[in-house]
Symmetry: C2
Subunit: 211 residues, 2 copies
């Protein structure tokens, strides 16, 4: 089962690594990081580079496609090479997935039109202009499209999909091995839980601001 994880300049590392660490433990998983050009691809901080081992052109029929998000997603919305690759691989994929603002890239291809999907909480409203019905859920499955909320939610998405594909016990084994027994020291991981002034501050500064 080939799992292609897409990289582009200024993606967010955890968006990609959460699904990698979970989906990669599927039976017969063959993970491959892909980008327009092969070689190291830098994240949004500039401090981390993950190697794209294959070009998009070299990976034509992955079983699962994973699209991370991050600040670099915005210019990719107009990158026809990437958008065409997403459309083409979607024609034969078993699952087409995204984390965070990666769902905006899927939305830009038209593939999510008329579907329920999620994204980073700051980007939810922005999805509507692509005919997508945004939800505030952490993981949304609509047909073969699986979208996850912001950054860390890719771990929940990956585990959910492992359960769908390989069964509950295999997913539990993956959860146990990755010791995914979260104990955040605060309870501020969603806009309805965090201090209101922080939510407001980020909404004002957001690149998805509608004002």
């Amino acid at each position: 089962m080939q799992i292609a994880i897409v990289l582009f300049d200024r993606f967010t590392a955890l968006d990609a690594v959460g699904p990698y660490e979970t989906l990669g433990r599927l039976p017969d998983a063959e993970l491959v990081f892909v980008a327009e050009q092969s070689g190291p691809v830098r994240t949004d901080t500039g401090a981390l580079a993950i190697t794209a081992d294959k070009t998009l052109a070299e990976v034509t029929r992955p079983d699962i496609v994973v699209v991370p998000g991050g600040p670099g997603q915005t210019p990719q919305m107009e990158n026809d090479t990437l958008l065409d690759w997403l459309r083409t691989t979607d024609a034969t994929s078993t699952w087409t997935t995204s984390v965070c603002t990666g769902s905006l890239l899927l939305a830009a291809t038209g593939l999510l039109e008329g579907r329920r999907a999620t994204s980073h909480w700051l980007a939810l409203d922005y999805m509507k202009q692509f005919g997508v019905e945004p939800t505030g859920e952490r993981v949304v499955i609509d047909g073969k499209y699986v979208t996850a909320a912001g950054v860390s939610s890719g771990i929940d998405m990956g585990l959910t999909l492992v359960g769908r594909i390989a069964g509950e016990e295999h997913a539990q084994a993956v959860q146990l091995l990755t010791e995914y027994d979260p104990q955040p020291p605060y309870d501020a991981g969603a806009p309805h839980k965090a201090p209101a002034h922080l939510v407001e501050e980020f909404r004002t500064k957001s690149r998805f601001s509608l004002t």
Copy 2:
């Protein structure tokens, strides 16, 4: 504030990326991935390579040291270059930290002797031979030593440390931006929660097996 994240062959990606994604959002964070040689370093799956931008020799006084774990940790227990670097940087670091079996590397340096610490649940007992008192907690702070349990626990460790360094509100902002509002589809992330036969199976196969 310089944060050095150590890489070695066959580390586990999420061990490193959890702290990266949280600690990297500290004010004035300067993240640097380091390894014995610079260049791409492969994870335990072989499918992911993160670039070490600096050699150990080039990074001499990081404020925070992060040591991930993974199957490749075992041979590193006898790598004097790495162990000496950990001892040397510890002399001036503000925080010396680890995730998963990274704590065994810290233990091998002697730095954790007489201290409370944690590790991947499969490796906890193994710590005793280094004079460390293992706990089953997810994040343990003893003096300036901060150790985290398996793989995904580095996110909780990172957020905890962000709170200590930059205050609760900053940590909550990091949690909100990374949308860390975990909703695992199963509750099997710790040995006392997972199906007993899975726990037993992994204990039997573990490289830390005491039998």
